[in-house]
């Protein structure tokens, strides 16, 4: 009974229930979702038809991208623990998903990442020192590098997805041949704006690839409590989007799926939904303690599916890599990361005087008074042109 004083109770449902399921006079087949991987968890090729036909140098470039992503991540975590970095969201364990989605893009394509796509952003041309600036709370970090056709990620879950869709609508209107790739999490799939974007993209046949990185968790909420149907690719059919489900820890599977989706969009056939099944190995963010809500065994089980190890095994089997090369490469990349940290430290200068300078093209008259008031404040405090923050 409703705690609200209930209205008069009535007889039970008047008609005896009929089981529709078995007696329909017609039906619409919804088809199926293909589930793909190229490499299994040991790195063995299980689907050579899908194996991308890439030169060896490219395979190694992909490997380096994944390792760079991981090393940067671990370094940032260390820096955060030492107070040199703000809260950020480690991409640990999602390196294949990340690199696999940007690898097939051209530089003219548009990338709209989420906050957990640091490795992919580096691949797209963001310098590591700039990304460090960004996550350390320096406004300069947010400037999009020259020549990089990316959108800023959005801290607001799902809010970048319609913007990415709008870019794709613009592309479609102008008959430009580029495409948009955007990613978001399983949690983001619950946001209405993501559904609205699916529908807009489908209606306008906008060239956009939606990549949902289903990493098992949205902070403390597991996918089963997040979604009525945890197969997120299944959302596609309702909105009229072709969809595929990929092993997100298999970089070759990701490349195969995303290449296909990008090609589909580029030839004008419209949007595509790629569900990448992966796992968030680390903290949600550095402000989070996953021990409160998830079991160590679950994390352990996923360690065995490590995307980097898997790809290493593949490259070893193809004689492109051995343990010594792995160690050497790792060291090289570590040095890159340390050099970036050095540059970051030199660039880490707060600019308190800038805060009014990017809001409008020209500061309106009635904001000039506020700026003057603020400048007075800085002056009283003795804050210099490039204050230390």
């Amino acid at each position: 009974m409703s705690p609200r004083s209930a209205t008069s109770a009535a007889a039970a449902s008047r008609t005896p229930p009929v089981r529709i399921e078995s007696r329909a006079d017609g039906s619409i087949d919804l088809g199926s979702i293909e589930v793909i991987r190229v490499l299994d968890e040991q790195g063995e090729v299980v689907n050579s038809d899908l194996e991308p036909n890439l030169p060896e140098s490219e395979l190694l470039r992909i490997y380096r991208g994944m390792v760079r992503s991981r090393r940067l991540d671990l370094r940032m975590l260390a820096m955060q623990r030492q107070g040199e970095m703000g809260t950020f969201a480690p991409g640990l364990g999602q390196e294949a998903t990340q690199i696999g989605q940007v690898y097939p893009m051209t530089s003219r394509d548009w990338y709209a990442p989420s906050y957990r796509s640091i490795g992919a952003q580096v691949w797209r041309g963001w310098s590591m020192d700039q990304l460090l600036l960004l996550w350390a709370g320096y406004f300069e970090g947010f400037g999009i590098p020259e020549g990089v056709n990316d959108l800023p990620f959005s801290i607001v879950i799902g809010a970048h997805v319609p913007v990415a869709t709008g870019v794709a609508m613009g592309i479609r209107n102008r008959k430009d041949d580029s495409v948009v790739v955007t990613n978001f999490g399983d949690g983001a799939s619950s946001q209405g704006i993501v559904a609205e974007s699916f529908n807009f993209a489908a209606v306008y046949k906008a060239p956009i690839i939606f990549i949902v990185e289903s990493n098992g968790w949205a902070i403390s909420t597991p996918i089963e409590r997040q979604c009525g149907n945890p197969v997120l690719a299944a959302r596609g059919v309702g909105f009229g989007l072709p969809a595929v489900r990929v092993d997100g820890n298999d970089v070759l599977g990701m490349i195969a799926a995303c290449s296909c989706a990008i090609d589909h969009a580029r030839r004008g056939a419209g949007p595509y939904l790629v569900e990448a099944v992966t796992y968030r190995m680390s903290l949600h963010t550095t402000a989070d303690d996953p021990k409160v809500y998830r079991k160590e065994e679950e994390v352990k089980a996923w360690e065995g599916k490590c995307p980097i190890r898997r790809f290493e095994n593949y490259l070893k089997a193809r004689d492109l890599l051995d343990d010594e090369a792995i160690a050497r490469l790792g060291e090289e990349i570590e040095q890159e990361v340390l050099a970036a940290r050095e540059t970051f430290r030199q660039r880490a200068i707060a600019r308190p005087k800038e805060i009014f300078d990017f809001v409008y093209e020209q500061l309106p008259a009635d904001l000039q008074g506020q700026k003057a008031e603020y400048m007075e404040r800085l002056k009283r405090k003795g804050v210099e042109e490039r204050g230390t923050g």
Binding site: G143, I144, L151, A159, G166, I193, E196, F200, V359, P364
Partner: protein, 327 residues
């Protein structure tokens, strides 16, 4: 010079802007084939084609979000929200992308777009169709907010809004849509955003309004001048944000008295902001408290009684007379 209604004048401005700049496109629910539920976009689909006049699905948040994306891509979308009551649906994308993108990307992606919406009461409409919540946008950093009051300034300000490098909320007083005609120049005309207009000079009291309220404001002014001997100066704000503080301060420094009129709820409304600024910058000239004749802090009532809720010339006259009693 043709005599146009505000709807026709807005339609003219859209057509002119689209003809002059092929980046300008129009989007929203029913703006294409149907020409908009108020016919503001009538004929544009035939002239400019479906790539530039885009009928969208029924989802305001995505309309604004995708318009932001189109602006990022370099187009200049003019997105219509069918009634301003439904901008609530789009609050997310307005506040979190439209208003912030330029800042977030440090000028790399300025958002040169307009969100148009009919606002305000007086047309005997159902719930959610009579709201005036321009104060939400005035409070939101990164936006500009423009509200015309007649056909001529509607045309010139919409042209300016479309050409503006920053995102503009453009609220159209639907009670004025077909209320009267005005001469509108055959040449394209543009007015500067951010300037108030002294509609009637006067020395005794400053009467400030905007949008649909300019009609009762002017009616009250006539009455006050002719029947009560109060020489009011009437100011049409036109731009809510940026606000032409200088013009307001100048006027009130002269008259020492002020009454402000708007339809929206009172608390934290536009009149409150004007009072705050006049207090800050014209304090020594004030001879009487500044009065607000505004909507009340209640839901817009159902249409059989809306005429009592809305500020009318009678209430404005009463407030002015009260203000004049202070010595």
């Amino acid at each position: 010079m043709p005599q146009l209604t505000m709807v026709e004048a807005l339609n003219l401005a859209l057509g002119e802007s689209m003809a002059a700049d092929d980046r300008v496109c129009v989007m929203g629910e029913d703006v294409g084939v149907n020409g908009g539920v108020f016919r503001v976009t009538k004929g544009l689909l035939d002239r400019f084609g479906p790539e530039r006049v885009i009928d969208t699905p029924l989802a305001e948040n995505a309309i604004i979000g995708t318009a932001v994306g189109m602006a990022v891509y370099g187009l200049r979308p003019v997105a219509e929200i069918q009634f301003s009551g439904f901008t609530m649906q789009a609050f997310d994308q307005i506040e979190q992308n439209m208003a912030r993108y330029r800042n977030r990307t440090r000028h790399r992606y300025p958002i040169s777009m307009v969100m148009r919406a009919p606002y305000g009461g007086g047309i005997r409409a159902v719930e959610h169709h009579s709201e005036s919540r321009e104060a939400y946008w005035a409070h939101t950093p990164g936006l500009k907010v423009v509200i015309p009051s007649g056909p001529r300034n509607a045309r010139a300000l919409l042209a300016a809004a479309i050409a503006d490098p920053d995102p503009v909320i453009f609220y159209e007083p639907k009670a004025v849509y077909r209320a009267f005609r005005e001469e509108v120049s055959e040449e394209p005309e543009v007015m500067e955003i951010g300037k108030a207009h002294v509609v009637r000079p006067g020395g005794d009291l400053t009467l400030i309004g905007y949008g649909a309220m300019m009609r009762p404001v002017l009616e009250a002014a006539d009455d006050l001048v002719q029947e009560h001997g109060v020489d009011v100066e009437v100011i049409d704000l036109l731009s809510i944000k940026p606000m032409d503080t200088i013009a307001l301060v100048e006027s009130v420094s002269k008259t020492g008295r002020c009454v402000i009129v708007h339809e929206g709820p009172r608390t934290c409304g536009v009149a409150a902001e004007i009072i705050a600024r006049l207090n800050e910058q014209a304090f020594e000239y004030l001879l009487a408290p500044i009065r607000r004749v505004t909507g009340f802090d209640i839901h817009f009532p159902f249409f059989q009684v809306e005429k009592h809720y809305l500020p009318d010339s009678d209430s404005i006259v009463a407030a002015v007379k009260e203000t004049m009693t202070w010595t």
